[in-house]
């Protein structure tokens, strides 16, 4: 049995999500290869080759893969799948974008965002925004799976797997990458941050979000998140959103400031190790999942906390 893992990377570096998908693939079993599809992506391939348990790394390096559209990944991966029994992709926006195209082309029903591997046909995944856990058995011969990174451990260091280059389709593809506007930040990225400070609607403006949340995050060396309400209101950019339809996080410490705790938000953070909630409404649902709750005015509490830490 052989499994192909789709790497998440930035060409120059490997994203932590890759190692977690690898852990899920190793739990599934068989020989595990990692595909790095990129442009000038040898550094990412070298990092992937140093993960424990990898048989080999496939490097598909070419211009259309610098910022690959889903159609380009489909053209690359569908032919490769002849040699594999399963594709494990990260449940990142890249993985979610491409994996269902590959599944449809192979006539396979994908299993999305798994949180556990039970056996070679059976997986667990959250449904209804994490309000229920589905154990599902696939009757497809090949498995196409996306993996929720927070549910699996990071991979260990290995002794170095060989890197093989594979030919890349040159396109053109029916869609084309035009541009990207990425949030520039020196803070830890949400998916892998050990600590996260998130702000909600109670911040009441973009200025106050920055004035109160960012210094606390800096003091804690934390990533910054936001509730859907705060993002919808324009207090924080979309990629800060933690929740069912945003990012799912599980840091060591999650500080929820002025977040009431809608089901949608809880779905994205309730697996955090320690949750702190600051909210003026003592009935707010966030307190039902918080390890430490502080009822009061965030505009007084947060500066005091920032100063005393």
């Amino acid at each position: 049995m052989a499994v192909l893992v789709l790497a998440e990377h930035s060409n120059s570096a490997l994203n932590d999500a890759t190692g977690k998908v690898l852990s899920a693939a190793l739990a599934f079993g068989g020989d595990v290869d990692i595909l790095v599809a990129g442009e000038n992506a040898r550094p990412a391939a070298e990092a992937a080759s140093k993960l424990a348990g990898v048989r080999k790394v496939l490097l598909a390096d070419g211009a259309p893969y610098g910022k690959p559209v889903a159609e380009a990944l489909e053209a690359l991966i569908v032919p490769l799948m002849g040699a594999y029994d399963a594709l494990f992709a990260p449940a990142t926006t890249n993985g979610k974008n491409a994996a269902p195209r590959i599944a449809a082309r192979l006539d396979v029903m994908q299993i999305s965002e798994i949180t556990a591997v039970i056996d070679k046909d059976t997986f667990e995944r959250p449904i209804y925004a994490g309000n229920a856990i589905l154990t599902v058995r696939s009757s497809d011969a090949k498995k196409i799976v996306t993996v929720r990174g927070t549910a699996f451990p990071a991979a260990g260091a290995g002794s170095g797997a060989p890197i093989e280059t594979v030919a890349v389709p040159s396109g053109p593809f029916a869609s084309k990458f035009v541009r990207e506007e990425l949030s520039k930040s020196d803070r830890p990225e949400l998916a892998s941050a050990k600590r996260i400070v998130s702000g909600g609607r109670a911040l009441a403006s973009s200025d106050q979000f920055q004035q109160y949340i960012l210094p606390l995050a800096d003091k804690l060396k934390a990533g910054v998140g936001a509730s859907r309400a705060a993002v919808d209101a324009g207090y924080a950019p979309n990629d800060y959103q933690v929740g069912q339809t945003g990012k799912v996080v599980a840091p060591e410490l999650y500080v929820a400031v002025g977040i009431s705790g809608a089901i949608q938000h809880l779905a994205g953070m309730k697996d955090s190790k320690i949750i702190v909630a600051v909210n003026k409404d003592e009935e707010a649902p966030i307190f039902a999942v918080a390890d430490y709750g502080l009822v009061g005015d965030l505009f007084k509490i947060v500066p005091e906390l920032t100063e005393k830490l």
Binding site: K67, V69, A70, T93, N94, K96, N97, A99, P100, A103, A104, R105, M109, Q110, I111, S112, E113, T122, P126, I127, Y128, A129, G130, N131, A132, I133, L134, T135, V136, R137, D140, F173, A174, S175, F177, V178, R179, E180, E181, L182, S183, N238, D239, Q244, T245, L253, I263, K273, I274, I275, V276, E282, F287, A288, D291, Y292, G293, I301, E304, K308
Partner: protein, 248 residues
């Protein structure tokens, strides 16, 4: 340009889902149902394209039980022109739904299929991408802006690091994210008018699609409950608690 909008009838997003004691699924008996919120955003976007003179006709499609007609009617009241219900009481999966939508698209020849990025019941996030792949069309998923530029579509997508823009040739598939638009409420006169709009009733067999599920449900269980902790009196207590827990 004709626009096809597949929509799904799901549990109302305000209702807290309850797992059945026999672990066979989530209890939907006597639970309020509604249009999937992402599908509402898709209808709204189609209606706005029509208001801008870009869309010429909006066809609202649903695959589901007889009651999914009500969901299609909501879409028609928001501005859809006609509906197609592919009626089945069976559990459907994105792969078979995508095959049905492909067959409808081959008949209807839309320039754009726009649908929700995921349904809030199964959280699969697959149907749009699978439909695009089966048709061999480009896709713009998780859209927060859709702009027609000549015969191209410029789609801005919400991605992990921020925003990404892709250019699609048409016909194309677009899936909606939350911030694409704010769906309108259907007005009473429009709800009355929608009652007269045509909904064609079909079956999966009419499109030659086998909807036998590939995935079987072993069980559905409650997630691990998280115990509520304690309320602390002040910032100093919080800091000392966090220190003793090793969190800071």
């Amino acid at each position: 340009m004709k626009v096809l909008v597949p929509v799904k009838r799901v549990i109302d997003y305000n209702v807290r889902p309850r797992v059945k004691p026999d672990q066979t699924g989530v209890d939907l008996a006597n639970v309020k149902m509604a249009m999937n919120p992402f599908c509402e955003i898709a209808i709204e976007e189609a209606v706005r394209l029509k208001e801008k003179g870009i869309a010429t006709e909006i066809v609202v499609v649903s695959i589901g039980p007889a009651q999914a007609q009500e969901t299609i009617r909501i879409g028609l009241a928001m501005g859809g022109d006609r509906g197609i219900l592919v009626q089945t009481d069976a559990r459907t999966e994105p792969l078979s739904v995508a095959k049905i939508i492909r067959a409808i698209a081959e008949e209807e020849k839309p320039g754009l299929i726009i649908t929700g990025k995921q349904a809030i019941d199964d959280d699969n996030n697959q149907t749009g991408q699978m439909t695009a792949a089966l048709l061999g069309w480009p896709q713009g998923t998780f859209a927060s802006a859709v702009i027609k530029d000549g015969d191209k579509l410029m789609v801005t997508r919400e991605v992990d690091g921020g925003l990404q823009t892709v250019e699609l040739s048409t016909p194309a598939v677009v899936t909606t994210d939350l911030r694409l638009n704010e769906p309108r409420f259907a007005s009473l006169p429009n709800i009355m008018k929608a009652k007269k709009k045509e909904i064609a009733i079909k079956s999966p067999a009419d499109y030659g699609v086998d909807i036998t599920p590939r995935l079987s449900v072993v069980k559905v269980t409650e997630p691990k409950k998280r115990e509520a902790g304690e309320k602390v009196a002040d910032v100093d207590t919080l800091i000392s608690k966090l220190k003793s827990a090793g969190a800071i």
